[in-house]
Amino acid sequence: METAIKTSTIKDKLIFEFETSKLFLFGDTQLRDQAMESFYKQGIPDRKHEEYKYTPIALMLKGEFDFSTSKNCSDEQIEPLKFLKEAYNVIIENGIFVEGLSNLENLPKGVTICSLVNAATSNSALFEKHYAQYADIKTDPFIALNTAMTKDGVFIHIAKNVIIEKPIHVIHISTASKSTIIHPRNLIVVDENAQAKIIESFETVDSKAKTFSNAVTEIVVDKHAILDHYKIQDENELGYLMNTTQVIQKKQSVFSTHTFTVSGALVRNNLTLVLDDEHIESHLNGLYITAGNQVVDNHTVVDHRKPNCNSNELYKGIIDGKSTATFNGKIFVRKDAQKTNAFQSNKNILLSEDGTINTKPQLEIYADDVKCSHGTSTGKLDQEKIFYLQARGIGLTNAKKLLMHAFASEVVNTLKIEALRDYIEGKIAKTFE
């Protein structure tokens, strides 16, 4: 048996692991079976798969993997990651919610933060209403795989009319000693008229082996609700991250999402926003700074289903070393979605001779009374600007840094939490060293 598993493909191994462990997993077994079947049918996408053309999945899944998850972080190791002093911190270690490390004291009334496993029983009505309703197992093999195999994650619920001032900071950490595949799963529900700020950060602590994290987050933004969502991806060179975020927005809601990718061996973001009612506002911002052999692939879909909605997307990238950055954005305007305003912009700076940029901004439009546009540009740092600064006594290195900061600031300035902005700026400054 042992040898049979070793020679089989990663796909077979995943299926084998699923069959042996599924009885110990929480929730609906039938859903898990369906999801696994869907994963089996779709398979692991290769380079010929249009959506995964520029993401080397094979690289992600190379080598032997372990499926067990362990908890071994201490408070001292976690402390520096809690960079927001005023926040509710949630720790997810190797895909498992760790209550002992999180600080969730004095949560305001109407705010629930608990493990997903817990929510499935203690909050079953809400859980069943929303769980796995938006991230469709048929559309993507990794969503299917996550739905089949997830062990835990965080559940956040903001009740009707509740405005929570302090941000909620969800820290995903991987601490693998052996190569691991994990499937964290999060569900965020912001009810009618509620407001919240949620930050997800991805970090590695004391990791000696490769971690492939296949994370899925479903977000519901109900009527008139306002949600600010931030993602900071800062894993080390052993971190492989497949991060799917599926958002559904209801009437007159406002959702902003900001994705910052500063390190990690391979990061693939699948971000989908469904604008399911009228007068919705959505903002998507992203900044990726890559170096070395990093691969960063941002896929976004904005699906305008109803009239009178606005969406605005801005992704910027600075590419150095032998790294590859991909941006693939799609704006989808359905037949009834008249009076839609949708804008998309992707700008890149290619610093090195060996870097690669792939960009594919797409518009798919079936309504006529719309204003949609996209634009993309790629180039190196403007020589004239460098000259201008040099002529004023600023050295070449500093001049370049200054220009890169200015380039990144368009995205960084959209951050509303000051402490977070300082943290990101610090991170950016460090990558420019």
Partner: protein, 482 residues
């Protein structure tokens, strides 16, 4: 406005007549025997037959591409006649010997070859090669061109008379392994146009090929090969029409352009194949592979296309910028109405240093149609200082149609500057109002606005074509604002 719309949307396809020309057909279906039959009919040398058979054997192993944003009933490749030649096809010495029925066809098409002959000596004339179904029936002005050393003839003739040139260049830009339809074409192509412009010659007139599918149940598979040798210049135009039929006919052409040092090729297309009726029945499937290569430095290839016909268009005229300082251009207007579907765009592959490319694409969708731009800009690692500018605009005429943009941009050199812009909108009510206020009726106003919108592209066309293209746009579109 709706009345105008109704009235105009029902505008019939003008070129949909059927001419009863006695045609010499091959039996339906495709196998090695048919390919041998075609090759024998055309009296081809052995290397040509070998090439066809290799391509055919490769084609059998291939699958139809499915990635395009179009949906259609897959053609049955065994239900197509792969060879149809208008009889009598003996070599003609003068136009008087041409089948009178055929001449009538030309008159209906508005191509007056006789007129042209009488006008010999007039400056701005056009040399014309006419291809009906799969066979070249007439090439004009051969003599004038021959004096300059320019070879302009049918592909079949070129195989017989200039085998060394054909062997050297054919399939050098588009190998038969390139894609499904290119492989099919390489196996069964029946005729086409061949053009060679020698060193230092500036072609004195516009060269033109006129394509028409006439026989029912046939597919048209022509091949065009244009070679511009060092320091030469050529401008080439093609036009296409087909009769109205309920069935879908397949057109799978291959066009290869080769530009040597300092050479320039300008290739313009006005494509008006039968688009199907207003319920989307019938029409041509236009699956074409067009590619040019700027082989050496300072060469330039420019594609201009006005696409108004065909039930389904699947076409990406591309340029490989291999030589340093070479330039690639792509100007396109694609208009779809009723149930037409178009997935068209370009590929600019930058390999050489200081290469430049420009892409201007204007899509117009009306009725229930879907119009997609799909383009690739690839900057290779060695393409120092490459420059690309792309602009893709879409205009939506009704709330039932779709306009899509799928650009692919791949950059591997940090000295490259690449820009892409796209917008989607409908005709501005205020623009219409402005025109109407000045006594221009809706119909004319739309024509005016659309022509203005397409001006960047239309101005690239040679004068005769520009006028025709403008009319074509008006006919295909007028009043179709919902």
């Amino acid at each position: 406005m709706n009345e105008v719309l109704e009235q105009k949307l029902s505008t019939e396809y003008k070129y949909g007549f059927v001419t009863d020309i006695d045609a010499d057909n091959a039996p339906k279906g495709l196998n090695e025997d048919i390919i041998r039959f075609i090759s024998a009919k055309k009296n081809e040398p052995e290397w040509m037959l070998d090439y066809r058979l290799t391509a055919f054997r490769h084609w059998i192993t291939m699958e139809e591409p499915k990635w395009a944003h179009v949906s259609y009933q897959k053609p049955d490749f065994q239900d197509i006649i792969y060879y149809s030649a208008p009889k009598p096809k003996a070599v003609l010495n003068s136009l008087d010997e041409v089948d009178p029925e055929l001449l009538k066809t030309f008159q209906k098409l508005g191509i007056s070859i006789l007129e042209q002959e009488r006008l010999t000596g007039v400056e701005n004339r056009i040399a014309l090669d006419i291809i009906v179904d799969s066979v070249s029936v007439s090439t004009t002005y051969k003599k004038t061109l021959a004096e300059k050393g320019i070879i302009f003839c049918s592909f079949g003739e070129a195989i017989q008379e200039h085998p060394e040139l054909v062997q050297k260049y054919m399939s050098s830009v588009i190998p038969y392994t390139d894609n499904f339809y290119a492989a099919l074409n390489s196996a069964v192509f029946t005729d086409g146009t061949f053009c060679y412009v020698p060193k230092g010659v500036r072609c004195p007139m516009e060269l033109s090929t006129y394509f028409r599918i006439e026989a029912a149940g046939t597919g048209q598979f022509e091949r065009t090969l244009i070679i511009a040798d060092e320091d030469s210049y050529v401008s080439y135009l093609e036009g296409c029409t087909a009769p109205m039929r309920d069935e879908n006919q397949l057109h799978a052409a291959v066009v290869e352009l080769v530009a040597h040092k300092n050479a320039q090729i300008k290739y313009s297309t006005v494509q008006n194949w039968y688009p199907g009726d207003k319920d989307g029945k019938g029409g041509i499937f236009n699956f074409v592979t067009k590619r040019g290569i700027c082989l050496e430095e300072n060469s330039k290839i420019s594609w201009t296309q006005v696409e108004t016909g065909s039930a389904i268009t699947w076409k990406y005229p591309s340029v490989i910028l291999k030589g340093d300082n070479s330039i690639g251009e792509f100007y396109s207007v694609a208009l779809t109405n009723n149930y037409q579907q178009a997935d068209t765009g370009t590929k600019m592959i930058h390999i050489g240093k200081n290469t430049k490319s420009t892409i201007i694409s204007k899509g117009i969708s009306a009725g229930y149609s879907n119009n997609s731009y799909r383009g690739l800009v690839r900057i290779g690692k060695g393409a120092e200082n490459a420059r690309n500018f792309s602009q893709c605009d879409s205009l939506l005429m009704t709330d039932q149609c779709g306009a899509h943009t799928f650009p692919y941009i791949e950059i591997k050199n940090n000295t490259a500057i690449v820009e892409h812009e796209a917008t989607t909108s409908k005709i501005g009510e205020d623009q219409l109002f402005y025109c109407k206020q000045r006594g221009i009726d809706t119909e004319k106003a739309i024509g005016l606005i659309v022509n203005g919108y397409c001006k960047d592209v239309l101005s690239q066309l040679p004068m005769e074509f520009a006028v025709e293209a403008q009319k074509l746009l008006e006919v295909s579109l007028e009043g179709s604002v919902g």
